[in-house]
């Protein structure tokens, strides 16, 4: 085990002078500096098109910065090898805005993917997946093919898939957009619980309701820039 001090002080995600650009288009984000401590919880906000999804995809290692350095788990993702990237990704849970489920597979098989890619035995997988799907109230739809599920059901499958591995980093892009309020708060409770167990959480959301209800700092994107709105000030502003 690492020493406790190290875990607490080392940033789990660190971005220095990062630019994101697609092809020859102008920068989506310019000169971003962001340091996330291990065990932190942030909301990610900004207007549609502000670059929330782009920033998250850099954190889950699907996008490399066009400029600047990004360190995740202390490793520069610009220099990480393919094998190393795969090992890092196993410690990151992702909920995509558009779910990105494997539509031809059942809810069960989708949630099992992160466990299967690390070679876990089927018995252990069965136990964990059933438990989690029951918790998100999908035990009845476990064997349904994903393309036949409703939007809210898909979202819960996507969230189950993201947390099944007990990830060190959880990145969720609009995770409560398609579910009823009570389920939305239940899912938020799940994220909060995971955070208490040490998971670093970033949740992109438009929901002022959710932001107001939880006292967490906010990463706000506007005009290609990034601004951290601390928790307390924000709460005061809301009031």
């Amino acid at each position: 085990m690492q020493t406790h001090k190290n875990i607490l002080t080392q940033p789990i995600i660190d971005m220095q002078n990062v630019c994101i650009r697609y092809g020859v288009e102008p920068d989506v984000l310019s000169n971003i500096n962001l340091t996330l401590e291990k065990g932190s919880f942030h909301f990610l906000t900004g207007k549609s098109g502000a670059g929330k999804t782009s920033l998250l995809s850099m954190m889950y290692l699907a996008l490399k910065p066009s400029k600047g350095t990004v360190n995740v788990f202390g490793a520069n993702i610009g220099y990480a090898g393919r094998e190393e990237m795969a090992m890092m990704r196993r410690k990151i849970g992702v909920v995509f805005q558009d779910f990105r489920l494997l539509e031809h597979l059942s809810a069960y098989d989708n949630v099992a993917v992160p466990l299967r890619v690390r070679g876990m035995g089927e018995n252990e997988i069965k136990k964990r997946v059933k438990e989690l799907l029951t918790w998100v109230e999908l035990d009845k739809s476990m064997d349904k093919i994903c393309s036949t599920l409703s939007g809210g059901e898909k979202q819960r499958v996507a969230i189950a898939r993201a947390v099944i591995n007990r990830p060190e980093i959880l990145l969720a892009d609009e995770p409560t957009g398609n579910v009823d309020d009570d389920i939305a708060f239940k899912l938020m409770k799940l994220f909060v619980e995971l955070n208490k167990l040490g998971t670093t959480v970033v949740i992109a959301t438009h929901s002022t309701d959710i932001i107001a209800r939880y006292n967490y700092p906010q990463i706000h994107l506007e005009n290609k820039e990034l601004k951290i709105i601390p928790a307390l000030r924000r709460v005061r502003n809301v009031e």
């Binding site: 393919r82 990704r89 196993r90 494997l102 597979l105 993917v113 890619v117 690390r118 898939r161």
Partner: protein
């Protein structure tokens, strides 16, 4: 059983429904068909060459035909002596022995009958020439040279045309190796093509798997499994038709089963190797799929 093997490990990629599968099955079946025919041809030709080569003995016989006009015994002895001398001066000749007349008569007796007056018959003189190495002895040149100094002598030319047959059979053998190689290269390329097409089709799923922490090897294994199964099934189809073809050929040629062609047979080992072919192809298809997926993924993302 194959299905069980496929489903034992969960494949996230719906490779079973790939459109490329049919292309791959057909092209592999054709490749296996051609490959097994060429391989059977190779085996048969090898056997034939072996038989023929063992028929080229380390020796030859020179015949001196009895002359039309009566010639003196001295003249006759001179003729024999000239031939003996010619061979004694040649490289690669171990021993030159004129076969004595008594022996010839004894050899001929069974054909002529006991009552025949052998002495009255004009009998060819035979000279037995022993060689160190019949396979590398140039029968043709020797025959030509001999004709110049002793036109009345002739070499029993069994070895000459047998050697020519061996020569052309050897080039057939080379041709079959060439065909085998071409078929092999073609099928490796079609597997690589099918794999890269499939990777593009499933790019979205592959990206998701990568983000979930799948290694390239994890994805490549799913292709390897599919490659093995497709390879095995296609090989059995290809083998079925090539075996049918070989049966028909051997049936048609059974009328020709005389000495030379008759030795063009497949023995037990050859059949065994041919029947191993589907598994060899399945393994090849598996490895090719695996390696080309790993290679392509490295370039992709």
């Amino acid at each position: 059983m194959l299905n069980k093997l496929l489903h034992k490990h969960h494949s996230e990629l719906p490779l079973k429904e790939d459109k490329a599968n049919l292309f791959l099955e057909i092209s592999t079946a054709i490749s296996v068909f051609l490959f097994s025919i060429a391989l059977a041809a190779y085996f048969m030709i090898s056997t034939v060459i072996k038989t023929w080569n063992s028929n080229i003995i380390d020796g030859l016989t020179v015949q001196i035909m009895p002359s039309q006009q009566t010639i003196s015994t001295d003249e006759e002895a001179l003729r024999v002596g000239k031939v003996v001398h010619f061979f004694e001066g040649l490289d690669g000749v171990k021993k030159v022995v004129p076969v004595n007349e008594e022996k010839i008569k004894r050899l001929m007796a069974p054909w002529l009958g006991v009552n025949a007056d052998i002495d009255a018959l004009p009998i060819a003189k035979l000279i037995d020439v022993r060689l160190y190495d019949g396979k590398n002895f140039d029968f043709e040149k020797t025959a030509d040279n001999l004709k110049e100094i002793a036109p009345y002598a002739s070499i029993d030319n069994h070895g000459i045309w047998l050697k020519q047959l061996v020569k052309s059979a050897t080039s057939l053998k080379t041709l079959s190796i060439f065909v085998l190689t071409m078929v092999l290269v073609a099928s490796v390329f079609s597997i690589m093509y099918a794999v890269s097409t499939s990777l593009k089709v499933h790019q979205n799923i592959i990206e998701i798997l990568h983000i979930m922490g799948a290694t390239d090897a994890y994805i490549a294994k799913q292709y390897a499994k599919r490659g093995f199964i497709v390879g095995l099934m296609a090989s059995f189809i290809g083998m079925f038709f090539s075996m049918l073809c070989l049966r028909v050929i051997s049936h048609l040629s059974s009328g020709l089963e005389t000495g030379l062609i008759g030795s063009a047979r497949l023995d037990g080992l050859h059949w065994f190797l041919l029947l191993c072919l589907p598994f060899g192809v399945a393994v090849l298809s598996m490895l090719t799929s695996y390696l080309s997926v790993k290679h392509t993924l490295k370039e992709m993302m």
